[in-house]
């Protein structure tokens, strides 16, 4: 039986990767992802993990090496953050259409400039349309569980897609908290060996990610789109199997006191837990408020989102990124799009906050909800509110 121990989230995440028994890890260290790949390098060096660790010279090379290794059918892992994710960007796009089930942890951090090593979701948003399945963890346990699920989801024959697991830099990566690491035997039962259907093999040559003239390009892209859309039912199925095996339940939109609530706050990432404390206090004060947390960013869970706020008059969406000169928060834009053609819909109020590591406290979340309710009543000419800025 697995026990809860006090461990740094990065270390636990790396230990979860070890439990998945990867064949290849190719990574370049970058704050705040560093502890994850350092620990994996250590495990390989100590002989505790029988994998090839490729200490590449850049993130661009990291993802390139991952493409190659995954194409041979090797279970492949990498991790990065911020500028590292930006540097590997062109290669990140290649993995999904080539159907390579690479798993990547992203320790979310702001993009430069000005230079910031602290958390926000601008790096996550920069890879929104790369075709990867994207899961967002809210605490250390969710990192561990979803890393294990990510391999099974990505490698499922009906899916064959790369999977990102996002975790907030510092707010999660550098925190010691109680985490239950599953036993190796349990993970072995849950996660079958990687069986890539068409691995690179000199005896049976295949071409991957080939040249596509206009006569076929649209078809390949449509196939890719159908592929990720249909992956959602497999993700749900695998999360359900994980629940049966390990007792922890995941869903694309997790509800917290949201059923029947007139006002719902939507969050993604670790600060959602701070927000829950604020929701508890407001519920105790008699307010009709609830919360939803997005666990699955791609494929976007439209039906689950609509269902989760069916009783709400106001939906306040908190983003940790800006779409400059655009509609404000990228998450809020998606949410608005999801409701645009619906007959019954809540008023959607977009807030941006928590940029570059700025904390949002319990009192801060209560303030956001209060302001959101006021704006829903009085209306606003602005696309979105930026929370806590000194003007």
């Amino acid at each position: 039986m697995a026990t809860r121990v006090g461990v740094e989230v990065s270390i636990a995440l790396a230990d979860a990767v070890k439990l998945a028994n990867p064949d290849v890890i190719a990574a370049y260290p970058i704050t705040p992802q560093t502890h994850i790949v350092e620990h994996l390098a250590e495990l390989v060096a100590n002989g505790e993990l029988d994998a090839e660790y490729i200490p590449v010279e850049s993130e661009h090379s990291a993802m390139s090496a991952c493409l190659g290794s995954s194409a041979t059918g090797a279970r492949t892992f990498t991790a990065t953050a911020s500028q590292g994710l930006a540097l590997m960007n062109e290669v990140v796009y290649v993995a999904a259409p080539m159907r390579l089930p690479i798993v990547m942890a992203v320790a979310n951090r702001a993009l430069s400039a000005p230079l910031s090593i602290w958390c926000d979701h601008s790096d996550m948003m920069s890879v929104r349309d790369t075709g990867w399945i994207q899961i967002i963890a809210e605490n250390g346990q969710q990192c561990v569980d979803n890393i294990i699920c990510a391999f099974r989801i990505g490698e499922d024959k009906r899916v064959l897609l790369p999977v990102m697991v996002h975790l907030d830099g510092f707010n999660l990566t550098h925190v010691i908290e109680p985490i239950e690491l599953p036993e190796q035997s349990e993970v072995d039962k849950f996660l079958p060996p990687c069986k890539f259907p068409l691995p690179l093999n000199p005896d049976k040559p295949v071409a991957m990610g080939d040249f596509a003239p206009p006569i076929i390009f649209t078809e390949t892209k449509w196939a890719q789109e159908m592929n990720i859309r249909s992956s959602k039912k497999v993700i749900l199925e695998i999360w359900n199997k994980y629940y049966k095996a390990f007792g922890r339940k995941y869903s694309p939109v997790e509800k917290y006191h949201s059923d029947g609530a007139k006002v719902v706050l939507m969050t993604m990432g670790a600060i959602g837990e701070t927000a829950s404390v604020a929701i508890d206090e407001m519920v105790a004060e008699g307010q009709s408020v609830g919360q939803i947390r997005l666990r699955l960013w791609r494929p976007f869970p439209f039906e689950e989102l609509r269902e989760s706020v069916k009783d709400a008059d106001v939906l306040i969406v908190l983003d940790r990124a800006i779409s400059y000169g655009g509609p404000g928060g990228p998450l809020a834009s998606e949410v608005k799009a999801a409701f645009y053609d619906q007959v019954k819909k809540p008023k959607i109020i977009s807030f941006v906050g928590g940029l570059g590591g700025r904390d949002i406290t319990v009192a801060g979340f209560k303030d956001i909800v209060k302001k959101g309710i006021e704006i829903a009543k009085s209306g606003s000419k602005k696309e979105y509110e930026i929370y806590g800025v000194r003007e």
Binding site: R4, V5, G6, V7, E8, P32, I117, W118, D168, F170, N171, L172, H174, V175, I176, E177, P178, A270, I271, E273, T274, S276, V277, E281, A284, G357, D359, I360, T361, V362
Partner: protein
């Protein structure tokens, strides 16, 4: 809040390289090993040796810790380096009745009058203990003993396993330093 909180928040003040982060780690791991919920984290950022740093503990005996933000209103503050007392406002946000636990040669009333601290103060000469027991003036594990005594948040024996795991063959000496401060802290 309608219900009484079971959450205890501790803010550690030290200088880069003094091991404040390690202390918070040991305390959190000890609490978790008792079945409690706990969190330890540093003030995130580029660490510089000698610069004032903070590290944080949240410990809850009843429910998981969910707040993910720096501790602005601690129940206890711990000061690893007495030279910080006139440079950093260590009592900033300290709750009413909250304690200040200081590594110093002086006694509590001297510290209170010298730095105009209006909170209860506990003192221990951790530098002396660390020099004698560890042979180096690194006070983080020593101060852990004082914190365990004053807060009463965990059984001091629970720190043994984390200290042994972290310090290997030096584990025993760090345990002795912790125990000595536990006995000697004055309040």
């Amino acid at each position: 809040m309608t219900k009484e909180t079971s959450l205890m928040e501790i803010r550690w003040h030290g200088r880069g390289g003094q091991g404040a982060v390690t202390s918070t780690e040991m305390l959190a791991q000890a609490a978790i090993s008792e079945g409690k919920f706990a969190q330890a984290f540093p003030s995130f950022g580029p660490e510089r040796r000698g610069a004032p740093v903070q590290a944080f503990n949240r410990i809850d005996s009843r429910e998981p810790v969910r707040i993910r933000a720096d501790i602005l209103q601690p129940d206890y503050v711990v000061v690893l380096d007495p030279s910080l007392l006139d440079k950093v406002n260590v009592t900033s946000g300290l709750k009413k009745g909250g304690w200040v636990i200081v590594n110093t040669r002086k006694n509590a009333s001297e510290i209170k009058s010298e730095f105009k601290i209006k909170y209860p103060v506990a003192t221990v000469n951790a530098t002396k203990i660390a020099r004698e027991v560890l042979g180096v003036p690194i006070v983080n594990t020593t101060m852990l003993g004082a914190v365990v005594k004053i807060t009463g948040v965990i059984d001091k024996k629970s720190t043994h396993a984390p200290l042994e795991k972290r310090f290997g063959r030096l584990g025993e000496r760090n345990i002795k330093a912790m125990e000595t401060a536990f006995e000697q802290v004055a309040f």
